[in-house]
């Protein structure tokens, strides 16, 4: 479905943020597939407390967007589809130059899930996918460094950095597949940055059928234990 069609269907909204990464939900006019009715048959979790079915990004009951992208650390193409029947998917979108700590905060949710999965024996039931939308700067070595900085076990089988080949491809994925506004901007207030990406702090959780169980639009601030509990429920029920 074409999510762009409903960015713009509803009135102009003001938007303020103090951070280079935006925390929020983007609403739209229609969801297109109407699969977010309560008790969606392909989901394990109950419908979320906050109905996000009108949002422009995938939400409860939607199919996880099908993406095939290189994992530069293992030099293999990873597809979101390959986990169907095997692993739930917890996915987020970052860039390692993120100046205000929001991308590390997103990464923390995935990293804690990795830790608890190892402790509780469900490491093989979840795939942790972190896509950079800044492939021009986020090279393989940069991603490895980022993993160390964030305490991620990037060598584990359940962790994949995904790196689109080009900026344009990253932009297409973010705007069309994920349904979020996306823009490269100047970063005059950061001496060490030539440009940055104000972006939404979205985390997606899909079950082993590839159906979205949760979209966390406040992914950088949501209680990590909430995300972990949801993942554990999805993989163990």
């Amino acid at each position: 479905m074409d999510r762009r069609t409903y960015l713009g269907t509803v009135g102009i909204a003001g938007l303020t943020s103090v951070a280079g990464c935006l925390d929020g939900t983007i609403g739209g006019g229609e969801t297109g597939n109407g699969s977010s009715d309560s008790g969606a048959p392909n989901t394990i979790l109950e419908p979320p407390e906050m109905d996000l079915s009108e949002s422009s990004h995938p939400s409860y009951g939607d199919e996880l967007p099908s993406l095939s992208l290189p994992d530069p650390l293992i030099d293999e193409t990873i597809s979101t589809d390959q986990f169907e029947g095997e692993r739930a998917v917890l996915m987020t979108f970052v860039y390692t130059n993120c100046p205000d700590g929001m991308c590390p905060a997103l990464t923390l949710r995935l990293r804690r899930t990795q830790e608890v999965a190892a402790e509780n024996g469900f490491s093989d039931d979840v795939a942790l996918l972190e896509m950079t939308f800044d492939p021009e700067r986020d090279t393989e070595s940069k991603l490895r460094t980022f993993a160390d900085e964030q305490g991620v076990d990037a060598e584990a089988d359940n962790w994949h950095f995904l790196r689109p080949e080009t900026y344009d491809r990253a932009k297409t994925i973010m705007t069309e597949d994920i349904g979020l506004p996306f823009k490269k901007t100047d970063a005059p207030e950061y001496d060490h940055l030539e440009y940055m990406f104000p972006h939404y702090n979205l985390i997606l959780l899909a079950n082993k059928r590839g159906i979205v169980e949760r979209a966390y639009p406040n992914g950088a601030s949501i209680d990590p234990s909430k995300v972990i509990d949801d993942v554990e429920t999805v993989v163990t029920e």
Binding site: G11, S17, D23, T25, P99, A105, P181, N218
Partner: protein, 192 residues
């Protein structure tokens, strides 16, 4: 959490920043949303965790710190935690404010900086010395403590009273006055 209110009226316009969430109807303009590294509004309520079971945090040998283990949060006094990373430029920028806050009020609380990164202790201690750290330096290798208290991005600060209740937390670069004021909230709350 009152997020549903936010979404109640389709077609309603605007932004509600309650709990670090903004609901947006229509195409948001990204122009001007240039980050400042300052705090996210309202994000501290997300960190008001109900799980107050203390953790054991190891500290390392570094200026003002020695290899030891501490119950965090402390049982007998208030606790101040600074979550940082050596990779984080704003964290470097905040070090003088932390040093001043520690000078002014550090004796009254368990005052500790904590990192969850994967880095050898020697490198961490070198970084600490270079940036004039002079208080306890703790490790959170599983990020459990960080996950419990991080209030948005890095750096992030939290002041916990002696009963284990979070009295103040925020992210972004703070001044010494802001840090001290936050710690004073935890001291004023008592909790013993």
């Amino acid at each position: 959490m009152r997020r549903r209110d936010v979404l109640a009226g389709l077609g309603s316009v605007g932004v509600v920043a309650g709990a670090g969430v903004m609901a947006v109807r229509g195409p948001p303009s990204l122009d001007g949303n240039t980050g400042t590294g300052e705090s996210q509004p309202g994000d501290s309520d997300e960190t008001d965790s109900t799980n107050t079971e203390p953790l054991t945090i190891e500290t390392i040998d570094a200026p003002g710190s020695e290899a030891d283990a501490f119950r965090v949060p402390a049982a007998d006094r208030a606790t101040f935690l600074d979550f940082f990373g050596t990779w984080c430029p704003p964290c470097v920028e905040q070090m003088p404010a932390l040093a001043e806050a520690n000078e002014r009020i550090g004796d009254e609380v368990l005052f500790m900086s904590v990192t969850s990164e994967s880095i050898p202790n020697e490198e961490l201690a070198d970084w600490w010395e270079k940036h004039d750290g002079s208080w306890l330096l703790g490790l959170d290798p599983t990020a459990e403590l960080t996950a419990r208290y991080l209030a948005g991005g890095y750096p992030s600060a939290v002041a916990i009273d002696a009963s284990g209740t979070v009295q103040w937390s925020d992210s972004g670069i703070k001044t010494a006055d802001e840090l001290v004021a936050g710690i004073e909230q935890a001291l004023a709350a008592g909790g013993q």
